[in-house]
Amino acid sequence: MEKQATLPYGKYVMVWFGLLALTALTVTAASLHFGKWSVLAAIIIATVKSSLVVLYFMNMKYEEKIFKIMLAVAILTLMVIMVLTFADILFR
């Protein structure tokens, strides 16, 4: 029999609880009206949530190195596109 690639059931449930808590946090943060900072707060919380999904639900934490390199290249590409576009919009 092959080695099990998946985590214990309980661990997925824990991640789910974490995601629910972060959802509550982002809804609360939005209702507090931080002004300019509320967008940043929402993006940071969304990034933490997606990290949880990628690392545990999508098993990235336990994948081989090649997957991590590929993900890093993809995210970096997206960041380059975004930063250059924002630079263009803001300093045109």
């Binding site: 099990q4 997925y12 982002t26 939005a30 929402a42 639900f57 999508m58 590929m70 993900l71 919009i89």
Partner: protein, 257 residues
């Protein structure tokens, strides 16, 4: 001794690489999805920077409660999907099938909520190209165009995910063939049929054929189901990506008031 050990390692490695290759393929596809949605988020950011007041006003017409409920539904469906894969990994295919069923139902509830949400907006004559919308400020028009384009594209992904999970459910739940019949053992032809009367083997035997040996290897249901593990894992990756996109869509459309 050493030859046997080597052969065993070789077999293991081959299987391992196949699994990795399949997953790499799926991730490459997910990256194209990431770039597609990423560029839409870019368009969103550009218009939002140009029309912050219009965006805030328009977003206030969306119900954050519906958005929150749909977030909880998708997060939960991601959990049931991850648990389905974990169950299949432990050869518990019945549990896996049930969890896949729950995942599909949750995806369906998400889309039903979306349907009611869109219907309410349509009832107020708010949709791309509508008269009311064309009279609104530029920023409000762009907000609703993006709202429909992005949640619409995301909704199509939910639908596609549900269909793929349904196919996987059928594959995992399908019982292995139980009965086989050997037909026509005569010099001219040998045929083997399974219980759905599908021909598994037909030998156009010649005159000189006198004996046929057939070895049937029965597979247990769980062993057969486990073969689909990599496909279910890739299905899960797609489903989680759909969840990921929603994680960003939710605050950007519902929580910026």
């Amino acid at each position: 001794m050493s030859t046997a050990a080597h052969a065993d390692t070789g077999h293991h490695l081959e299987h391992h690489q196949d699994h990795t290759g399949a997953k790499i393929g799926m991730w490459l596809f997910l990256f194209t999805e990431l770039l597609m949605f990423g560029s839409l988020f870019l368009v969103y950011s550009d218009y939002r920077m140009q029309f912050p007041a219009d965006f805030h006003y328009s977003a206030s017409t969306l119900d954050p409660l519906v958005g929150t409920i749909n977030t909880l539904i998708l997060l939960t469906s991601s959990l049931t999907m991850a648990l389905a894969i974990a169950a299949l990994d432990r050869n518990r295919h019945r549990v896996a099938v049930r969890l896949m069923g729950v995942t599909i139902v949750l995806g369906g509830i998400f889309l039903i909520n979306k349907y009611f949400e869109w219907s309410a907006k349509f009832a107020h004559d708010l949709y791309p190209g509508s008269e009311t919308l064309s009279l609104m400020a530029e920023g409000e028009r762009q907000f609703f165009n993006l709202y429909y384009a992005m949640t619409g594209l995301h909704g199509l992904h939910v639908l596609a995910g549900m269909i793929i999970i349904a196919v996987m459910l059928w594959l995992v739940a399908r019982k292995p063939r139980q009965k086989y019949m050997l037909l026509d053992v005569k010099p001219a032809r040998v045929a083997l049929q399974d219980d759905s009367e599908r021909n598994l083997l037909v030998l156009p035997a010649g005159e000189d054929l006198h004996e046929v040996h057939v070895t049937l290897v029965y597979e247990k249901h769980e062993e057969l189901s486990r073969r689909h593990l990599i496909h279910l894992e890739n299905t899960g990756l797609f489903w989680h990506l759909v969840d990921l996109i929603w994680i960003f869509l939710f605050p950007l459309f519902y929580l910026i008031t």
